[in-house]
């Protein structure tokens, strides 16, 4: 009798337990926030959007193909742009079937698994460090200089990357082998937004005549502080005829054109700053907004940040100011308000900052100073609607990892290739914001130079014998 009662209790307990567990997970399905279902910590590249499950998995969790499509949707264009050294077509080619059997890089997921913190290391790679050796273990046959090099040194020694080798390929090293540490003509490119805006304003029939404070146009029902008008009057917006209503009555999706908006979103900026917004959405400042998630807040970042500085919405105006729209503020002060890592804190002691101060004081020519944005939001050449533009790349993560991506479009505006490679290979120098000389020397240029000489000698001998 007592045993039967005990059995009943066990069954009842089992039932209750199931009900509680079932209800708990069912609630997770119903509520909007899905963190309950995250199978493991997400990588630094994706953690901001980890709650937009369908951004990677698709609406139906359709499997590997859907995941691969999602990878390509966000990262495909950039891989094409950098002339990916290991494109998918290399691994779908039947003649490489033996290699694909070892490393199936037809899909990104082979090397970059998500929600796998225990095996994730630099650049979101989840394979052991010796993956280059899977296919290139016999490299010394073609390159005797590589004999005896450790299996993990290909990608870790500043010489090669799996995807982006635009600043590291042999002929590029040879072409730039004798460059000085710093060029006499060191200068960063100048933006040419007006090349675009003059054309745009003509097409849209907009006046670009400068506006004064008295020209500020806003509805009588809206109260505007004098300070705001003062700020606006100093901006490029006012100088190029962009009045209050251009932004506050901008046509946002689902908003009547004529409606006044007190706080226009970043979509308003898009009509004139489309390229900038595309970059912003792709980087860590805007990727949440791109996925229709609430904007990123400083306190949620994984980097070392100023936790007291919490933005209500990380949007264009967070860095540029709501009405100042200062590119100068956005290039240094806005960054330093939030970022508090060693590299950022050391910036104001650096030669780069000193040059910027000299430029702002008119002691050196324009383009000589180096701000945070010079390196992290660089001015890049882009063709836009048939116009060659120098535009600020607002995806500040684009050239960060591997950091050799920064060499061509940033460092080499002012520094020689060899110096740039060495500087970026020295973590201590990066941490103190480049105060001093590189403590590391990467041999790649020297190796390429020696090979160039040897091959030329061989060639000359062959010609002689013919």
């Amino acid at each position: 009798m007592a045993t039967a009662l005990k059995k009943k209790w066990i069954w009842l307990l089992w039932l209750m337990l199931n009900l509680v567990l079932g209800s708990y997970y069912a609630w997770g399905l119903i509520k909007e926030e899905k963190s309950l279902y995250l199978p493991g910590e997400t990588t630094s590249g994706h953690y901001q959007i980890e709650l937009a499950c369908d951004a990677c998995h698709g609406e139906t969790f359709a499997g590997t193909d859907a995941l691969q499509k999602a990878c390509v949707k966000c990262h495909g264009a950039e891989l094409k742009e950098v002339d990916d050294s290991h494109p998918k077509s290399k691994f779908t080619d039947p003649r490489n079937a033996d290699r694909t059997a070892i490393l199936d890089a037809r899909t990104c997921l082979t090397c970059h698994k998500e929600h796998a913190p225990q095996s994730t290391h630099t650049m979101g790679v989840t394979l052991p460090d010796d993956f280059c050796a899977y296919c290139h273990s016999k490299i010394e046959k073609d390159r005797p200089s590589h004999k005896g090099m450790a299996f993990d040194t290909c990608a870790n020694a500043g010489c090669h990357n799996f995807h982006d080798n635009k600043a590291l390929y042999e002929d590029f090293l040879v072409k730039h082998m004798d460059e000085p540490e710093t060029f006499e003509t060191a200068q960063i490119p100048q933006r040419n937004f007006m090349v675009f805006y003059e054309d745009y304003s003509k097409r849209k029939d907009l006046s670009i005549a400068p506006l004064a404070k008295s020209d500020a146009k806003f509805p009588g029902t809206v109260s505007v502080a004098a300070e705001i008008i003062d700020q606006w009057a100093t901006t490029s917006h006012a100088k190029r005829g962009v009045n209050c209503e251009a932004c506050h009555k901008g046509a946002e999706p689902n908003t009547p054109v004529a409606a006044w908006s007190d706080k226009p979103s970043e979509l308003t900026c898009k009509s004139c700053h489309e390229l900038e917004l595309t970059g912003f959405y792709a980087g860590k400042h805007g990727m949440r907004l791109a996925q229709m998630l609430p904007p990123m807040q400083v306190s949620e970042a994984r980097q070392i940040m100023n936790t007291e500085e919490t933005h209500d919405a990380l949007s264009c105006s967070s860095c540029h100011g709501a009405h100042e729209y200062s590119t100068q503020t956005a290039a240094v002060d806005s960054c330093m308000n939030c970022h508090k890592d060693d590299h950022t804190l050391a910036y104001k002691k650096s030669k780069h900052f000193e040059l910027l101060q000299q430029e702002l004081n008119g002691r050196v020519q324009q383009g000589s100073g180096v701000s945070c944005a010079t390196c992290h939001l660089p001015r890049v050449q882009q063709k836009h609607k048939g116009i060659e533009r120098i535009v600020v790349q607002h995806n500040q993560n684009r050239n960060l990892r591997p950091n050799e991506k920064m060499i061509r479009e940033v460092c080499m505006n002012c520094h020689g290739l060899g110096f740039s490679i060495d500087a970026l290979a020295d973590p201590k120098l990066i941490a103190n914001n480049f105060q001093g000389k590189p403590g590391k020397h990467i041999e790649s240029i020297q190796m390429a130079k020696i090979r160039e000489i040897e091959q030329a000698k061989k060639k000359a001998l062959e010609k002689q014998n013919q």
């Binding site: 002339d83 494109p87 998918k88 077509s89 779908t92 080619d93 039947p94 003649r95 079937a97 033996d98 694909t100 059997a101 073609d142 390929y169 002929d171 590029f172 160039e452 091959q455 030329a456 060639k459 062959e462 010609k463 013919q466």
Partner: protein, 196 residues
């Protein structure tokens, strides 16, 4: 039943449609039943590839680089603001075809490759490139199994058609052969069609 002109027209239309449907389905059946052999398909693909490759080499690269001397051709054509080399042009096409998911694949290989990745690798490639070198004017066909899939593999001779080909290959620092002449077989186009 009264047979009005309208009904007659309708009947005629129906008859014509049926006849057309029969003819069309007959055509389609006949195509399906006849099919084309892997060799005919490979030969046809190669005819197009070889024609495009020759046109690009002779009428674009050789003319602009060697004759009119208005632009360079360079392996680093983006950095050098130059024309892509004919071998790159061919590879870019092959990569786009692969990206589109076409079932066949093709590549340009050589016994004397500048880029070592383009040396023969599979047994059929090795045998095929030797065969077209030793038997001028002939193609090579073989079946091979790669990664568990059976392929019809065809190897076609790729001759030097213009001075641009021989000069560039003979002078390149990484070439294993420096005495190519116009008309020499410099390599082979390999086309693979899956059979299963």
């Amino acid at each position: 039943m009264k047979f009005t002109p309208f009904k007659a027209q309708l009947a005629a239309l129906a008859l014509t449609s049926s006849a057309l449907a029969v003819v069309m389905s007959g055509c389609s059946n006949s195509t399906a039943s006849t099919g084309i052999s892997p060799q005919v398909m490979a030969d046809s693909l190669h005819a197009v590839m070889a024609a495009d490759r020759t046109v690009y080499t002779k009428k674009v690269v050789n003319r602009l680089v060697k004759e009119d001397k208005v632009i360079k051709a360079s392996e680093h054509w983006q950095d050098d603001k130059a024309l892509p080399l004919p071998a790159q042009m061919f590879r870019f096409g092959a990569e786009l075809v692969a990206e589109k998911g076409a079932p066949f694949s093709y590549s340009l290989l050589s016994l004397w490759p500048i880029n070592k990745q383009n040396a023969p690798k599979t047994d059929a490639e090795k045998e095929g490139l030797e065969y077209i070198k030793d038997n001028p004017g002939e193609n090579f066909y073989k079946e091979e199994v790669l990664g568990g899939t059976k392929y019809f593999t065809a190897v076609y001779p790729d001759p030097a058609v213009a001075p641009a080909c021989v000069d560039c290959h003979n002078d390149h620092k990484d070439t294993p052969k420096s005495d190519f002449k116009i008309g020499d077989i410099m390599g082979g186009v390999v086309i693979r069609i899956p059979l299963s």
